[in-house]
């Protein structure tokens, strides 16, 4: 086959995007674990360990730009490199959000409002990320569409969680102590941020599925 070096570059890119995906999934797992257990050392490691992902991200982004500039990919190759280029950004953002989870775990526990199922939301969001990477690896268009639909479940969980926090605040007896009030505000803000970040993790999984669908079928329906 002609252009074997170019074909090798495309194969390598695909494998390395998937490897970065596994790295990011690992960070997400660690972030969720730190939230669940309150393990300070793990939380610190996740919060401060974003540099490795960023290095991968910049290196892979640079390789995509080289492919555009030097090989001028077209057709399926063009869609693959363009999709990968965008997916890298989503992966890097998921790693940032995982680092946030580490920071929240360091700041305090998430059991302020017991009705908020942070662990369940985290698992659901994490599951969408893993499935989006599988869809990219297997070129599975049906899986991309299913991920888009299943994001509604995560959105619903997050919506209910935010409501539960608001309801809890209203029902809670007004705090008279200024220091207590300040702490309560911090905890509530952190809990809401946790829920929002997990929702965003799921949104990035949908983005990955959308770019993957474009890569497979040249169909931009999920991008918009």
């Amino acid at each position: 086959m002609p252009r074997t070096g170019y074909q090798d570059d495309l194969d390598d890119l695909r494998e390395d995007v998937l490897a970065m995906g596994q790295l990011v999934l690992g960070r997400l797992d660690d972030g969720l674990e730190a939230l669940r257990t309150g393990d300070e050392s793990l939380a610190r490691e996740v919060a401060e360990g974003d540099a490795t992902v960023n290095e991968h991200y910049l290196e892979l982004e640079s390789r995509c730009i080289d492919l555009f500039a030097l090989q001028q990919p077209v057709a399926g190759d063009l869609r693959f490199v363009a999709a990968s280029f965008k997916i890298l950004t989503d992966l890097e953002r998921i790693a940032d959000l995982a680092a946030n989870l580490g920071r929240y775990a360091l700041a305090g526990d998430e059991s302020l409002v017991p009705e908020v199922p942070v662990g369940d939301i985290g698992t659901a969001a994490r599951d969408l990320v893993a499935r989006s990477l599988d869809a990219y690896a297997d070129r599975d268009a049906a899986a991309c569409r299913a991920i888009h639909e299943d994001d509604d479940t995560v959105d619903a969980l997050c919506g209910r969680a935010s409501e539960a926090v608001a309801r809890d605040l209203v029902e809670r007896e007004a705090a008279t102590d200024a220091w207590e009030l300040e702490r309560l505000l911090d905890d509530v803000s952190r809990l809401l941020l946790t829920v929002r970040d997990l929702e965003r993790v799921a949104d990035h999984a949908v983005n990955i599925a959308a770019r993957t669908l474009y890569m497979i079928e040249s169909d931009p329906e999920l991008i918009y």
Binding site: P2, R3, Q72, V74, A75, G76, D77, L78, R79, S218
Partner: protein, 307 residues
């Protein structure tokens, strides 16, 4: 390459071509894909239409049942590997294949609905309407001015020279206007207006090619056929030719054969892909063909997996 030698090269490639799988990127049959692009609708009016066009060189079938409609005032790129029939198709559009003794053309080519393969067609008039620019710049070994005015003078559209002056019928002013207009339209005027009497062979390759385009414009064509017009030029000269093609498409219908797929992607509105065996395999908007070709054979060709 001379026309005869090129025909032989196409013959050789066609003979050695392997059978191609009938696969498409969407899982449809190749016939379904063809039906899709046959229904391809472009904006604007049809300038050229070929229908069931077949070309044989002796016993070799160089072009097989090509049907295509080309819109007016646009750039249509013909791409494909060597020997796929794209230059053969281009030469059908102004009956240049008539010059190859072994060539036999069957089918129809219409310009503005008018059949060009019928008895009584004036080939000189046809080639005025459908001009051609070749791979290697081939200006006449004459002055820049004479290169432009040669055609109109030959056709009797301009009266110049000693006899014309003696008879007081000189069209000198018209000639100067024509030379300036054609050189301006070919984006060459600013570079040569102070040396119109210089021999055209003293110009650079890129300037010579633009002079050939200017010469082509001098007989007021409607269609311009270009057979790899920039393949012998450096990137700067190529960029100027590409800009020029873009400008020309506002007034003319341009059909260009190119081996440079990035060039086809850059400059054309529609792309037609011919593959080995003389078949037109896919035709559509250029962005569609380069982002999402329907045919797997076209995908393999444009991504470099062909072969």
């Amino acid at each position: 390459m001379s026309e005869t030698t090129q025909a032989e090269a196409e013959r050789t490639d066609a003979e050695t071509a392997p059978d191609q799988p009938l696969e498409t990127t969407s899982g449809e049959t190749e016939e379904q894909v063809r039906e899709e692009w046959r229904e391809y609708a472009f904006d604007g009016r049809t300038k050229l239409a070929a229908e069931d066009l077949d070309v044989h060189y002796s016993d070799d079938h160089a072009l097989k049942g090509v049907s295509i409609e080309i819109p007016e005032n646009s750039v249509t790129a013909l791409i494909g590997p060597s020997g796929c029939g794209k230059s053969t198709f281009l030469r059908c559009l102004n009956r240049m294949n008539d010059r190859i003794r072994s060539a036999r053309v069957d089918g129809s080519v219409r310009i503005d609905g008018e059949e060009i393969y019928q008895d009584g067609v004036n080939l000189v008039e046809l080639r005025k309407r459908v001009g051609m620019v070749f791979q290697s710049p081939n200006p006449f070994p004459k002055s820049i001015r004479e290169n432009i005015s040669y055609g109109p003078e030959k056709h009797g559209d301009l009266q110049t020279g000693l006899l014309a002056r003696l008879l007081d019928r000189s069209d000198e002013d018209e000639r100067e206007q024509l030379v300036e207009r054609c050189l301006r339209d070919a984006a060459l005027w600013d570079e040569v207006n102070d040396r119109l009497d210089d021999n055209a062979l003293g110009l650079s390759g890129g300037q010579q090619q633009r002079l050939c385009i200017a010469r082509c414009l001098s007989v007021d064509p409607e269609v311009i056929l270009m057979d790899e017009p920039a393949s012998a030029l450096d990137p700067i000269a190529t960029a100027k030719i590409e800009d020029l093609i873009d400008q020309l498409s506002e007034e003319y219908t341009v059909v260009i054969v190119t081996h440079n797929m990035q060039q086809a992607a850059r400059i054309s509105d529609q792309t037609a892909v011919f593959l080995t065996g003389g078949e037109l395999v896919e035709y559509g908007d250029t962005d569609q063909v380069f982002e999402n070709p329907h045919s797997e054979r076209v995908e393999d060709y444009i991504t470099g997996k062909f072969g």
